[in-house]
C-alpha cells in the first residue's frame, strides 16, 4: 500500500468577532430559543466563574479552574448533546457540565474539596471531572464500546485541552475509536496555553485536528469562540456518531482569558498585548451582538438575565456553604462496594474523631 495520500483540514466559522455572519448560516441561527439558551449558558458560566474565584480568594473554595473566554465551547458542546449521551470532561468544562445535570452546588462542592460534588445520582453515566491530563480519553473508548455493545443510541463526548493532545493516551484513544468505529466525539478545547506552555511548543503540527488523520478519523477545526459554529459542528459529529458513522475529532480554537487556575499567575508567561488581542474575540459579546442585530435580544433582557443568573448562583452558593461537612470516616465508605475486613479497623480508628476544617 505504498501510495501517496493528500489530506486537508477544514476550518469553520459562522460569525466574525463582531457577530457578523461570514457566509451562509446553519438552521440553528433561526432558532431563537436555542441561541438564547446558548447565550444564557455562557453568561451563567461566566458569572459562576467569577463567583467561584471570589469564593476561592476568600478561602471558601480550593483551587479553581476558570473557563473565562472559552464559554462558547462548553455551551456549544453541552447544548449539542442529548440528555442520554455521556460526557467525559476535563477540569475546565464548567459550561458543558451546567448544560448537563451538574449543579453549581455540585461543582462548588467538588472544588471545595468534597467528593460528593461528583455524586449526584442525576448525573447518570456522566463522568466526574478528570484532573490527570488526557487519562479520560481511553476511558471514553471503553464507555463508547459499552453503549455500542448494548446497541444504545447514545454518543460519548470527551473534552480535553491542547496540552492533552501531546499525551499518548489521546493518540491511543483516537486510534482505538477509529479502529473500532466507536460512537465517540473528541473535542479539543484549544485555549492555546497549557499552563505556561504555548500551543506552538506543544507540537509542531500545524493543526491539532490533523492528529485525527493518523487515526483514520475525520478531524476539523472550528472557531471555538463562535458558539454557533461549535454547536453546529459538534451536533453534526454527534448525530453522525449516533447513526453509526464513527468518531470525529474537533479542534475548537479559543483562548484562555484568565489565569490557568487560581493558583497560577499568567502575567509571568504572557503579555498584556496578547491578552488584549484575544479579548476582542470574546464569544459572549459576539453572540450578543448577533442576537441584538437580529432583534432577538435587548438591553432589558440582558439585565434580567444577569439578575436571574446571579440570584440562582447565590442560592446555589448558599446551598454549598450550608452543606454539612462529610464525616471523616466517609473516606472509607465508598472505597470498595463492601469494606474489606482488613480495613474496618482503620475506619474504626477514625470514628468519633473530629477533623480540623481550617
Amino acid at each position: 500500500m505504498n501510495q501517496s495520500r493528500a489530506f486537508q483540514i477544514e476550518y469553520h466559522q459562522f460569525l466574525d468577532p463582531d457577530g457578523v455572519p461570514v457566509g451562509d448560516l446553519p438552521p440553528l441561527a433561526e432558532e431563537t430559543e436555542a441561541l438564547q439558551a446558548l447565550y444564557r449558558n455562557m453568561v451563567f458560566t461566566r458569572l459562576y466563574d467569577e463567583r467561584a474565584i471570589a469564593l476561592q480568594r476568600t478561602g471558601q473554595l480550593g483551587t479553581f479552574a476558570s473557563s473565562l473566554g472559552q464559554e462558547a465551547i462548553g455551551a456549544g458542546v453541552g447544548h449539542a448533546m442529548r440528555p442520554e449521551d455521556i460526557i467525559l470532561p476535563s477540569f475546565r468544562e464548567n459550561g458543558a457540565l451546567l448544560f448537563r445535570h451538574f449543579r453549581v452546588r455540585d461543582l462548588l462542592l467538588y472544588w471545595g474539596g468534597d467528593e460528593r460534588g461528583m455524586a449526584n445520582p442525576k448525573l447518570g453515566d456522566d463522568f466526574p471531572i478528570c484532573v490527570p491530563i488526557a487519562t479520560h480519553t481511553t476511558q471514553a473508548t471503553g464507555v463508547a464500546f459499552a453503549i455500542k455493545y448494548r446497541k444504545q443510541p447514545r454518543v460519548v463526548v470527551c473534552l480535553l485541552g491542547d496540552g492533552g493532545t501531546s499525551k499518548g493516551d489521546f493518540y491511543e484513544a483516537i486510534n482505538l475509536a477509529g479502529a473500532w468505529n466507536l460512537p465517540l466525539v473528541f473535542v479539543i478545547n484549544n485555549n492555546q496555553w497549557a499552563i505556561s506552555v504555548p500551543r506552538n511548543l506543544q507540537s509542531r503540527a500545524e493543526t491539532l485536528a490533523q492528529k485525527a488523520i493518523a487515526a483514520g478519523i475525520p478531524g476539523v477545526q472550528l472557531d471555538g469562540n463562535d458558539p454557533i459554529a461549535v454547536r453546529h459542528y459538534v451536533a453534526e459529529a454527534i448525530e453522525k456518531a449516533r447513526d453509526g458513522g464513527g468518531p470525529t475529532l474537533i479542534e475548537a480554537i479559543s483562548y484562555r482569558l484568565c489565569h490557568h487556575t487560581t493558583a497560577d499567575d499568567a502575567t509571568r508567561y504572557r503579555s498584556e498585548e496578547e491578552l488584549e488581542a484575544h479579548r476582542r474575540l470574546d464569544p459572549v459579546p459576539r453572540l450578543r451582538r448577533f442576537m441584538e442585530r437580529r432583534q432577538i435580544w435587548s438591553e432589558e433582557q440582558e439585565t434580567r438575565l444577569i439578575q436571574a443568573c446571579q440570584a440562582e448562583i447565590e442560592q446555589e452558593v448558599r446551598h454549598y456553604l450550608d452543606t454539612p461537612p462529610q464525616k471523616p470516616e466517609s473516606m472509607f465508605d465508598s472505597l470498595y462496594a463492601e469494606l474489606p475486613r482488613e480495613l474496618q479497623a482503620q475506619r474504626q480508628s477514625l470514628l468519633g474523631k473530629e477533623v480540623n476544617h481550617d
Binding site: M118, L123, T135, T141, G142, F145, A146, E172, L176, S334
Partner: protein
C-alpha cells in the same frame, strides 16, 4: 473430572463466566484468533465472537483505560496484559481511576474490571518478561490483588475476581501455568477473596507465600518434616487486602514466621506482613521474622534467574535459623 493445568483453569473460568454473564467481555493483545500468547483465551473467540473477545491495538495504557470505561457502564471487562513486564503503563489507570472511581463519585460509578497478567520468572523468557511487581499494585487503595497458586485456586479465584464489584489485578504465576495438573470441576463456584488458604497444617513455624513460590515453600516444608520441624504453609492468595487474621492466628500458635516471595525485598508485600506481625503479634514471637525474597536488583536475564529466585535451600536455611532461637 479432568485434570487440568493452571492456564487451562484460567481458560475454563473465563469460558464459564462468559457463558453465564453476557456483560463480560475480554480484551487484550492477541487474545482472539491467537488465543493469547499463553493460550489462556483459546477457544473464546470461536465461542463468543468478536463482539466480546476483542483483539486490541497494541497499547497497554489504552487497554486499561478502555476497561475502566467499559466497567463504569456495567460491563465486566477482563483485560489481559501479555506479560507483567509491560504492565507499568496500566498503573496510571489503576491508581488514578479504576481504584477511585467508586470513591470519587460516592458510588455513582464503579469499576468492576479485572486486569490479568502472567507474572514471575523461571521460564527463561526474554528481558522484561519475568517481573513480580505485585507490591506496586498492593499499595493502591481501592483495588484487590489476587494471585492463584494452583489450577483449583486459579479457577475459583478468577471467578471471584470477575464477580467482584471492584477492580481486581489478577496475576498468574506463569512458571506454574503448565507445571502441575489438578482435577478442577467446572461448577462455577468461586473461592473467597481476601482470605488465605492453609495448605499444610503445622505447629512449629508458619511459612507464608503466594503464587509460584508456594511450590518451593511446600517442598521445603516436606523436607523440614523429615527433620522433625512441622511447618504450617499459608497461601496468601489475596495479597491486597491481606488476611492478617489467619496469619496472626497461625503465628500465635507457632511463634515463628518465614515469608517467602519472588519479588524484590524493599517495600514489598513481605515487608507489610512482617510489619503487621511486629505490630500485632510481637508477644507471640519466639524469633525474629525472616524473609526469603528476590534481591533488590533488576530481575536478571535468564542465565542468572536461578540465582535470583529463592529456592528450597534458602527457605530451609531461613527456617533453621529461625528455629535456633529457643
Amino acid at each position: 473430572m479432568t485434570e487440568i493445568t493452571l492456564v487451562e483453569a484460567v481458560n475454563l473460568a473465563l469460558m464459564h463466566e462468559m457463558e453465564r454473564d453476557p456483560a463480560m467481555v475480554i480484551l487484550g493483545q492477541d487474545i482472539g484468533v491467537n488465543g493469547g500468547v499463553f493460550r489462556a483465551t483459546v477457544g473464546l473467540l470461536e465461542k463468543f465472537g468478536s463482539e466480546r473477545v476483542l483483539d486490541t491495538p497494541l497499547a497497554e495504557n489504552m487497554i486499561a483505560g478502555t476497561a475502566v470505561g467499559m466497567a463504569t457502564q456495567g460491563l465486566h471487562p477482563v483485560a489481559e496484559i501479555q506479560f507483567m513486564g509491560f504492565i507499568p503503563p496500566t498503573i496510571d489507570q489503576l491508581i488514578s481511576h479504576a481504584s477511585r472511581m467508586r470513591n470519587r463519585t460516592r458510588g455513582r460509578l464503579s469499576c468492576p474490571m479485572v486486569l490479568r497478567a502472567p507474572y514471575g520468572g523461571g521460564i527463561h523468557a526474554p528481558e522484561h518478561h519475568s517481573e513480580s511487581t505485585e507490591a506496586m499494585f498492593a499499595h493502591i487503595p481501592g483495588i484487590r490483588v489476587v494471585i492463584p497458586s494452583s489450577p483449583t485456586r486459579a479457577y475459583g479465584l478468577l471467578l471471584a475476581a470477575i464477580r467482584d464489584p471492584d477492580p481486581v489485578v489478577f496475576l498468574e504465576p506463569k512458571r506454574v501455568y503448565r507445571l502441575m495438573k489438578q482435577a478442577v470441576e467446572d461448577n462455577g463456584e468461586a473461592l473467597p477473596l481476601d482470605t488465605c488458604f492453609v495448605l499444610r497444617p503445622g505447629s512449629d513455624i508458619t511459612l507464608v507465600s503466594w503464587g509460584a513460590m508456594l511450590h518451593e515453600t511446600q517442598q521445603a516444608a516436606e523436607q523440614l518434616a523429615g527433620e522433625g520441624i512441622e511447618a504450617e504453609v499459608i497461601d496468601l492468595a489475596t495479597i491486597k487486602p491481606i488476611d492478617m487474621e489467619t496469619i496472626l492466628e497461625s503465628v500465635g500458635r507457632t511463634g515463628r514466621c518465614v515469608i517467602v516471595q519472588e519479588a524484590a525485598r524493599t517495600c514489598s508485600v513481605s515487608a507489610e506482613i512482617a510489619a503487621r506481625l511486629a505490630e500485632e503479634g510481637l508477644m507471640s514471637l519466639f524469633a525474629p521474622i525472616r524473609r526469603v525474597t528476590g534481591f533488590d536488583t533488576v530481575m536478571p536475564m535468564f542465565r542468572l534467574e536461578g540465582h535470583y529466585m529463592p529456592g528450597t535451600e534458602r527457605i530451609i536455611d531461613a527456617v533453621r535459623q529461625t528455629m535456633e532461637y529457643a
